[in-house]
């Protein structure tokens, strides 16, 4: 059985590789995502390759095999269902659930997971709007626009926040920018790197381009 460490590597590789289609994930990316020194990931890459979970090309990077991806998706499913569970059932704050889920995802059995899934009514997205893989390993791969690339004036609905950092999430929460919130962009200043929009409740807000990139809408 895969250790927590292995599960973390696989999950992280999955997350990295679904953002750059096709090419292998460089070891440096994996190392910084997991907070270990690069040397460690090289060692791990070899051992994952030995177990048939990734394809490893030295000096290039790794890519999940079919089996590795299946496992990674299962970990991701656990992670996201747990996050939703923590918010919906236990009433934890938006910004604190990621770390909790990070630990729980490795010890929750399938039995418990399916109970949670049922209790939540078989949801399809987690609190950040990230899609929850199904038990069979299917995941909604629909790609959304981020705020900074949207036309002015049109009504938009936030559907996903792609940054789990507590400070950022607290900012999102404090300003009512959770998935589901509706807004209209009123002004975009490319030079200043800012973007101004109004929320449905009339409030107006200005944020930087880097923050806007982390907010996906439809």
């Amino acid at each position: 059985m895969a250790t927590s460490t292995v599960e973390n590597y696989l999950k992280q590789i999955l997350l990295e590789q679904q953002r750059v289609e096709g090419s292998p994930v460089p070891m440096g990316k994996v190392a910084s995502a997991l907070g270990v020194v690069p040397g460690t990931t090289t060692t791990m890459a070899k051992s994952l390759a030995d177990s048939g979970l990734v394809n490893y090309a030295p000096r290039k990077g790794v890519r999940l095999t079919e089996e590795g991806e299946k496992l990674a998706l299962h970990v991701l499913r656990r992670h996201r269902l747990i996050e939703l569970f923590l918010v919906e059932i236990l009433g934890l704050g938006w910004s604190e659930i990621h770390e909790e889920a990070e630990k729980l995802e490795h010890v929750i059995s399938d039995k418990v997971l399916e109970k949670i899934d049922a209790l939540l009514g078989f949801p399809t997205v987690d609190p950040h709007g990230d899609p929850i893989p199904t038990a069979k390993g299917k995941i909604d791969a629909r790609s959304l626009e981020n705020l900074s690339g949207c036309p002015l004036g049109e009504p938009l609905r936030i559907s996903r926040i792609t940054d789990q950092a507590p400070e950022f999430l607290r900012f999102i929460e404090n300003n009512g920018l959770q998935p589901g919130a509706e807004l209209k962009i009123s002004e975009q200043n490319r030079v200043a790197g800012t973007l101004t929009f109004s929320l449905s409740k009339g409030k107006t807000l200005t944020i930087g381009a880097s923050a806007a990139k982390k907010i996906l809408v439809e």
Copy 2:
């Protein structure tokens, strides 16, 4: 911070030492309770002693220090609250919760634990009737009689089952012997080592002395 392994040792030592008041817990007991070879526990005992969590007397055994006991009680609290949670909220079967809790108890944060505690209405016993230590580390130490030492004819109420083995718990469940069930002993055969009693619903059951010892009543 204590690793899962350390937490397991402490919890197990606590469980052993509360059943034999005063004397140190021999290493052999610890080893078999944790399913490791005796040599391993000797090594661990020394390192726990170095951290000030136990007092270790070579060839005698270990005893928790105040600090060790505090930690152990906290682990036990997590374990028992989680068991109750799994039964009450997620609807898991009686006999399958122990193993689940065994893994979860090491990754649940205090924050989550207190949410669970509140959700359950601040319970004092887990599904097996075992007392749940408070957040402050107090535990109900009331000692109960076991079935095999009780007088005939008197009405008794089951309050605790002291064996977590799934097969035994399934037996208990199938015969309606959960904590709360009421019964009257009708016959005790010391020679045959059996004990017969009738449940409130009129059903009559005969069990062996070893099983009777694991059922505590009041």
